[in-house]
Each structure stands twice: as structure tokens, then as C-alpha cells.
Symmetry: C2
Subunit: 272 residues, 2 copies
């Protein structure tokens, strides 16, 4: 998917919502556990109920790998279902990968070609040659961790390398990499005040923003400092949408939560 | 496996060799491609031929994920084969994972419980709460990226955060994490001169050292600066051993390469 297609979808749906498909078998409705593939059944129901309200879905690979081969099958079925039924949806493998060059190429192949995701999240620690193999794929997007939403972000990301905090150094350095136009960035919503600083460095890039809702970030604050002329934001909600109810009405409850977020987003888009 | 068991194995085998099981179907002998599971068949032959010369095996997960569910099955069969036939071998899932706390717990479960690895490699960018969930597992080891062997290591790892290079900040900070005694570190062999600096910070920890051989590092130099009273090194070789021949004699050729390395290691151990 091209960035322009994503921007069109955002305007069409008046939404920049990403739903994180982080399925925990301990939290889903009990009746689903009798199904052949409870994770896929849950995802399918969530997608069916919310796809008109969201522009992106983001399975976190950890929640699938934890169930071994069965989990990997659920992941594969989920991305296939999305690609077949909703090709207009932007798909994100939240995998946070990164390795030396020839190994990163294998990861890029796994997520872009084999599974067919539009994008994958990657970690910056190993630098340029660990990321460029991902960037080489046309119309695929590589989402680099910049400033994450967890407490540990303060261990290294906000420490200064010379003049700049590490996350700023990561942003600035990444702009020099080959095909850097295929980069997006992860920026946690729990630190809305950082968005204006980040927009000085990457005014045009899309930012994937976790941490709204369960992790405590404010949507309005993020939009105030982070939105650009293309909207430029994908706001992720996982637990808030997925586990709005754990009864038979879970999909309707998820839809209602997603709709609340979509309506807030519509208002915030008008305000720009 | 406990660290003490690993140390005993090293002394028994007079080897601190780790063999990286990074199987590329384009590089293995063609006759194996007719087998049901060429990756596992290749790994089994390599393990059978070299297990008396190596103390650790390290599959890099990228090389398995690139083949989807089939690849994940090959990984599972490989670790099961190792655990069943060679419980004395230290196993490393080279996965370079790391995410927010509850997600890292899922990864730890995947690699330690579900697959049954003794250790997993992790990336430090997301800080303390992304690593501590791994450290909570008893007799399991978490191998933190410190200074990697690729060119991109100079993008961030060797840049200074205040007084210290980033990799030193990572090493120092990680020592304050809960259960930090379960940490080992990845330190690339291509930068042997850094080992004496690293040993000032983590004198007792095991270091996993990629980059000897194909990537150009010197074994003797690494040992000179990096060895401690417990040896404290796991030197990884992947391509040099795996692809010593791509004919019918590939396993014997791999054994010969592994033996060369083991003999060099035996000499270097005597020199301590």
C-alpha cells in the first residue's frame, strides 16, 4: 500500500484508528475457547465489527509466538483474512525486529512477502544496515521505534547523545538511510509534549502511536502536537477495544469502543 | 541450565564454541532439498557431526520465520532434538526481541517455556521493563545486545551518552535490573579492542561473540581481552562451519571446521 492510499482511507473513514490485535486467551470470551482456532475466531469477529471504523490493524507477534505453531497459524489466517476481505486496510506486523543485514533481509521477506503485511515495526539499536534491508521493499513501510510508551523509554531513549536525546538522534540519523521515505516511527502517546519536538525533525512522516487508553495517553494532546497536513498519525488501541466486554456481546462492545474513538478522531480532524 | 553447568561443559569439551544454525536453503547441499524437512535434516546432520566439539547452538529465528509455519516447525524440531539428545548443550534463540512488559512476558514464555530454549537474545532500546520479564525465569539466560558486529553498530552504540558510549551505558544500566545475574551480553568480535573496556564493567558475565570468521574477527584477540576465570565467552560461528562444503560430505566438512576452532580454543584456554 502506498502512503497516499493510506491517507485517502483516513479521509474516507474520518478515522486514523489502528486496532492492536494482541489476543490473550485468558481475556477473550470463554465460549470462543471451544472453537478450532479461538485466536482467529476472535480476530475475525473484531475485524468484522470494526473494519469500517479503523484504517489499520496491528497484531503484535509476541501474542502469536507464545502459542507456537498454532499461534503462527492464527497470525497467518488473520493477515490472509484482512488482505482478502479488506485490502484497503493498512496492516502492521508489530514485531520489533532488527539484525545484521542478511538476517534482516530474512525478516523482511517473512513479514512483507511470506505473510504479506504492509509494514513491520523494527528496533534501531543495530543501526543502518539492520534497517535498510526492510526499506528496500517498494510500497512497504518500516516503522522504527523512536520514543516508546513504556517506563523503560527513560533508560536510554531520552538520554542525551551529545546535544540530542537518543530518540532524536535515531530520528535524524534514520533520515539519511537509503529509501528513508519508507520509514514511519513509533512514538508513545504517554509523552504528548515530545510530539512538537519530533515534528520538527520528521514533519511529514507517519507516526504510529501506542499508549492511548490503557497506557494513559491523551488523544487530543497527541493530535494537537503530532498531526500534520496528511493527518500523519495512526493511533493504536488494543485492550480498550478488544476487551470492552468478555461476554457474547464482545464484538458489539468492541465496535462501540472503536466508534467512540472514531468520532473523537473525526472531530479532531475537523479542528485542523 | 545453570551458568555453572555451562562452565563445566566448557572445561569438559575444552571448547567454548557456539554454532549458529542459520540455515539458508540456497546454500545447503541440493540433495537435502528432496527431504521432507530440509532445514531440520541439515541441522540434525550438523548437530550429529559437531555436538562433541561445541557447547552451544544458536538458531537465528529470522532464518526460520522466513519459511513461515514450515520454518517454525523446523525450529521446533531442532530445539526438541537438541533438548532430547543433548541436554548438556546450551541453546540460544537468537531472536533479538524486546517489547513493553506484558508483551515481553509473552516472548519469554514462547522461547523459554513453549520452545524450551536455555536463553534468548534481546534488544535494549526499550529499557528495563522490556527485559525484566525475561530475567524472571530461573536457570534461563537473557542475552542483551551491547556492541554488535555490524557496521550499523557505529550509528548509535558507540555514540556517547554523557561520559560513556551507549553500549557502556547499556551494560552499566542493565546491572541494576532485577535478576541481572541472569544476563549475558552480545559483543561483536570485530571490535576486539573494546573487550577490555567491557570487562571493566561486566567482569563475570558471559559474552556471546558473533563475528569470528565470515565477519572477520580474530579469536585470539577476543580471548586476550575478553576471557575471564570462567572462560566467560561463547564464540559463535555460523557460515564458516555450516557451509564448509555443499556436497555430500557437508557434515564431515563442518566437523573439520568445528574441530579446527575447538583446537584453537583448547590452546587459548591453556594460555589463561
Amino acid at each position: 500500500m502506498t502512503t497516499q492510499q493510506l491517507v485517502s482511507e483516513i479521509h474516507k473513514k474520518k478515522s486514523f484508528l489502528c486496532i492492536g490485535l494482541d489476543v490473550d486467551l485468558n481475556k477473550i470470551p470463554k465460549h470462543l475457547l471451544e472453537e478450532d482456532d479461538p485466536i482467529f475466531s476472535f480476530n475475525k469477529a473484531i475485524i468484522d465489527a470494526t473494519h469500517h471504523l479503523a484504517v489499520a490493524y496491528k497484531p503484535n507477534t509476541a501474542f502469536y509466538e507464545a502459542y507456537g505453531i498454532k499461534g503462527w497459524k492464527s497470525l497467518q489466517k488473520t493477515i490472509e483474512y484482512l488482505n482478502k476481505n479488506h485490502p484497503e486496510i493498512f496492516t502492521i506486523a508489530d514485531a520489533k525486529r532488527g539484525d545484521i543485514g542478511n538476517t534482516s533481509s530474512m525478516y523482511a521477506h517473512a513479514f512483507f512477502n511470506d505473510l504479506g503485511f504492509d509494514s513491520v515495526t523494527v528496533a534501531p539499536y543495530m543501526g543502518k544496515d539492520s534497517i535498510e534491508p526492510f526499506l528496500a521493499f517498494e510500497d512497504k513501510h518500516t516503522i522504527l521505534l523512536a520514543l516508546t510508551s513504556n517506563e523503560g523509554a527513560f533508560d536510554f531513549q531520552t538520554k542525551k547523545i551529545g546535544e540530542d536525546e537518543t530518540y532524536k538522534t535515531v530520528l535524524k540519523t534514520s533520515k539519511s538511510w537509503k529509501n528513508s521515505e519508507n520509514l514511519m516511527y513509533v512514538v508513545g502517546a504517554t509523552k504528548a509534549e515530545y510530539f512538537s519536538e519530533i515534528r520538527k525533525i520528521v514533519p511529514d512522516s507517519f507516526l504510529l502511536v501506542p499508549g492511548v487508553g490503557a497506557q494513559g495517553g491523551s488523544l487530543a494532546e497527541v493530535c494537537r502536537y503530532g498531526m500534520n497536513k496528511n493527518i500523519g498519525l495512526l493511533i493504536n488501541s488494543s485492550r480498550g477495544v478488544l476487551y470492552a466486554s468478555n461476554n457474547l456481546d464482545f464484538a458489539e462492545a468492541a465496535q462501540a469502543e472503536a466508534e467512540k474513538l472514531q468520532l473523537q478522531m473525526e472531530k479532531l480532524m475537523h479542528a485542523v
